[in-house]
Amino acid sequence: MIYLDNSATSYPKPEIVRKSVCNAFDKYGANSGRGAYKMAVNTTEEIFKCRQKACSFFNAKSVENVIFTYNCTTSLNMAIKGIVKKGSHFIISDLEHNAVVRPLEKLKNIGIAEYSIASVQNDTKATIESFEKQIKRNSIAIICTGASNVFGIIPPYRQLSDLAHKHGLLFILDCAQVGGVIPVDMQKDGIDILCCAGHKGLMGPSGTGMMILNDSIFVESLIEGGTGSNSVSSIQPDILPDKFESGTPNVQGIIGLSNAIDFINQRGIYNIYKHEKALMKYLQKQLENIEGIVLYTDFFSNQIPLAPILSFNIKDMHSEDVSHILSQRNIATRAGIHCAPLAHRKFKTLETGTVRISPSIFTKKSDIDLLINCVNKIAKLN
């Protein structure tokens, strides 16, 4: 199978990740942060190592600020619902995933909070102005994706964090599509809360994610329970990361993630980005030669930076039909709305969706050639 759906989840996982997960079932089978027998301490140490690596990877302020979750959606829910107060207002971009939109819509529907949508434009200044226009007296945060999961567009998040801080707002970055592909630095980029998946660009196992807090942010916990600390008290501990990590963690997943971060560091994030971007440039160039292909972004333009994600359509065909034919040829792509109706509305693709191609470090040029060949045949038959 040619797998081109790495924006949903990366596949295959690096060998070191697969092996470490299997090994963890044997070697680190105890609960973490609970017992004090040898296997429990060793397991706790492994979890801590992953926290250290993630802290360094994203240049977080402190290791305890790295909070393990189960995916990026959980992280975003924890962040949004953890900072909201009655009457709060949020500003989001018009590229956001439902992981941002739905929690906010729910808060809106139960009368807790409201939100406004700002437009990401080709011009950074215009984008900043669009966000600034939406700021109200009761605004508490700007939430922005690191890159659109459909079109790869990278909003000017560093400038948006400056804008947020200028107005006393928090800045939350959804790193689902950039973690492990594009360098993100919590200090330089001014990120107050970073939400990330572990199983996408970071190449870790499913069921892993992180919410990383910068210092001095008050976030309420969403889930309370056993943390292995201050157990006599019926009140949830206020210390990090315990406050947000009630219940047994995904030990094997986190150990896999730890090895995945090592893998990314060994390969080099710039090399990964360069490899994937070169494939998308090549794909774009080839698709441009096929009659009936509709493209939405331009990897050769310097107007707006793009993550290595390419969406396309074949004229007069639904994206699901194209993706279905490709799947019959053993090529895995993702079609439809990609849980991002805002982005599709912006690009007027809500009706047809798009066929999304998202490579990984393991994608070869020959994989893209096979895809192009198949798309060419589908377009000619249409």
Partner: protein, 73 residues
Amino acid sequence: MNRIVVKFSSVTYAMKAKAYIESNGGNAILRKGVKNTVNEGCAYSLVVNGNIDKILLGLDINKIKYTGYELLK
């Protein structure tokens, strides 16, 4: 040179302190449930050999929160 127990409210802080002490050439052993932690419930501690003032100063400078310490005989 003393043998001391440094107490932490969270295993993450204990691990952070352990990493700090070991990176400075010391040795720290993670333990659970030392005396005087009964009222707090579960807690972790490190058994460390070294100069108590130096160790605690290092933890303070590195903002590694501990809840207390005691000398071991």
